[in-house]
């Protein structure tokens, strides 16, 4: 980006639109009530729903920071406001530490499969002290990096607000002038970005091992952490695309959400959803082939045994009978299996076929809808990774007033934090004039 273009990027604090603020506060209130009501009637369900939602938003937020870091690392010139939106998602990331500390209070219900009787030989790793120390360290390290990155990313845009006093003058302490600040902060961001990218991948891999994979304590997969973390990265891109599309007529954004920007972010969703499915399949294939009970249990609990024992293939007729839609659908009877297929539909089938062409990627309504479907799909996916380990028989354990209420509360809180960061705090700067 040329220096003249960056110079135009100045922070402009705005008020949060009142209806949105009201909706967020109402959702948070519903969430808190649902959680407290759940704690008194069915604490296991309340804690598990809390666990799922904090993981979903936590990895999404950190994924947003990772997306912004990716833009910095490769020196991307196309994103424009997309980078600021991705950073806005990251405002939630430091809070993940707080939510982890809360969720740890419910460890009796969340880590029940191993908390008191870990599988023999895994006691050293699967114990509450080790989990607590390690995961707090990971979240604290990520929070520190995230705050530093956001600070250096935003600081050059604050020049005009120095005189306002208060927090603005604290953030701009030791101002060296527009040009020098821009160069220095850009250099700091370039140093931080690769560190954050690596910490995100490694850190969340271990969070996924500790807090999701361990719920089926006899199962393990080295790929699981990468798969989970990649889902977070992809959902952050979908969230960025959705927010970008929603902002296309917002003040200060006119002419910024161009067709070529939507095309580019659409391509990211398209390509990375294929990679997400690929990560799943590469693990599924080897487990299907070896067919060892200790490995297949995780898939059987989610997809049902029909994906593990292939009955087809004696001759063509039988192959057709097994895989034609009616017979295929009839075989999907085991708990959670239809839900898992629905996740595939939302996170891969729909993005793949809908965003295959050039025009759908450039159409705001289509790109936004696909992003929304994906975000919902990933929320379901987090549920399907957690619940079957804890409540194996009941397909609808994830659904209920308490669970939905808690999910709503998290949604409201996340949107509120995003708005606070991008509106009151001056991060969503007047965007650059750059195509």
């Amino acid at each position: 980006m040329s220096s003249a273009v960056v110079a135009a990027e100045q922070a402009s604090p705005r008020a949060i639109p009142t209806p949105l603020l009201g909706a967020c506060l109402a959702l948070i209130a519903i969430g808190v009530i649902a959680f407290l009501a759940g704690l008194s009637t069915d604490p296991a369900t309340a804690w598990r729903a809390f666990h799922v939602n904090y993981l979903y938003w936590g990895v999404l937020a950190q994924g947003g920071v990772a997306v912004a870091c990716a833009f910095v690392i490769i020196g991307a010139r196309w994103p424009g406001p997309a980078r600021r939106i991705a950073e806005g998602l990251g405002a939630w990331a430091p809070l993940t530490l707080v939510f982890f500390l809360i969720s740890f209070l419910g460890r009796e219900h969340i880590y029940s499969p191993w908390l008191h009787s870990p599988p023999p030989g895994k006691e050293v790793y699967l114990n509450a002290t080790r989990l607590f120390v390690m995961d707090v360290a990971i979240f604290a390290w990520l929070a520190l990096l995230t705050v530093a990155f956001l600070y250096y990313s935003v600081r050059p845009t604050l020049g005009a607000l120095r005189e306002r006093g208060g927090m603005f003058s604290r953030w701009t302490a030791g101002w060296r002038g527009d040009e020098a600040e821009r160069d220095l902060c850009a250099a700091r961001c370039r140093v931080l970005a690769p560190i954050i990218a690596l910490s995100f991948a490694t850190g969340w891999t271990f969070i996924a091992f500790d807090q999701v994979m361990s719920l089926t304590p006899t199962w393990y997969s080295n790929l699981f952490g990468a798969y989970f973390t990649w889902g977070g990265f992809l959902s952050a891109i979908a969230a960025t695309a959705l927010i970008l599309v929603l902002h296309r007529n917002a003040p200060g954004f006119q002419g910024e959400v161009t067709k070529s920007r939507m095309h580019d972010i659409g391509k990211m969703i398209f390509a990375f959803s294929i990679f997400w499915m690929y990560l799943f399949f590469s693990q599924y294939l080897v487990i299907w082939y070896a067919n060892m009970p200790e490995e297949t249990q995780f898939f059987e609990a989610r997809l049902g045994s029909q994906f593990m024992v292939d009955k087809a293939g004696i001759n063509l007729m039988e192959l057709a009978r097994t895989w034609d839609l009616k017979h295929f659908w009839d075989r999907i009877t085991e708990p959670y299996a239809k839900m898992t297929l629905f996740v595939w539909l939302c996170c891969w089938v729909i993005p793949f076929w809908v965003l295959l062409g050039q025009r759908p990627k450039k159409t705001p309504a289509i790109l936004g809808s696909v992003s929304l479907v994906m975000l919902f799909g990933f929320w379901l996916e987090r549920n399907v990774l957690v619940w079957p380990s804890l409540v194996p028989k009941d397909s609808f354990s994830w659904l209920g007033p308490v669970q939905i209420g808690i999910a709503g509360g998290f949604l409201g809180a996340f949107v509120l934090v995003f708005l606070l960061y991008t509106r009151v705090f001056p991060s969503l700067a007047v965007p650059s004039k750059h195509s």
Binding site: Y284, L285, Y289, K311, A312, L319
Partner: protein
């Protein structure tokens, strides 16, 4: 029909001239450019390239061929391996995936040659070696009575020279 050749120095001028000429109804035109320029592409043909149809057909053909080949082979010469059925979908998905990419790639290359009319052995009448060095050439066929008008239009859009190559 007479053919006029305009020589330009900047791609922006070429794109603008092409748009103006097409607006006036002179659609039989050819542009020679020393390097690819997006604005010229958009001016000459704003529609997305047809090559992508070849890629789609190749990819779909590939996925069908990948599954068909593996299933047919394992049913034709049935050997039980690892207790799995003869025709199993999961492992053959890998082959279907690879053949999708292979056929998609080959079809894209063929489509590129077909749509681009390559290889092009015979050069057009208006071509000059300068257009492979650093200048841009705009070749346009115009009816006899419009020669003067187009000549003026080319010059008005910063063509540094205009010549009549055939009539």
């Amino acid at each position: 029909m007479p053919t006029l050749v305009g020589v330009f120095d900047r791609p922006g001028d070429v794109a603008e001239t092409v748009t103006r000429l097409k607006g006036r109804g002179f659609t039989k035109l050819e542009v020679y450019s020393p390097a690819p320029f997006e604005e010229i592409d958009d001016a000459v043909d704003p529609k997305p390239s047809k090559v992508r149809i070849f890629t789609l057909v190749g990819g779909l053909l590939g996925v069908v061929a990948g599954y068909a080949m593996t299933i047919w082979m394992s049913l034709d010469w049935p050997i039980v391996i690892g207790g799995k059925p003869f025709a199993s979908i999961p492992p053959y998905t890998v082959i279907a995936f690879e053949v999708t990419i292979l056929f998609g790639g080959i079809f894209t290359l063929l489509g590129l040659l077909a749509v681009g009319g390559l290889p092009s052995i015979k050069l057009g009448a208006g071509y000059s070696a300068r257009f492979s060095a650093e200048e841009f050439g705009l070749v346009v066929e115009v009816p006899e009575r419009d020669v003067a008008e187009v000549d003026g239009l080319l010059r008005a859009h910063s063509a540094k020279e205009v010549s009549l190559v055939a009539s």
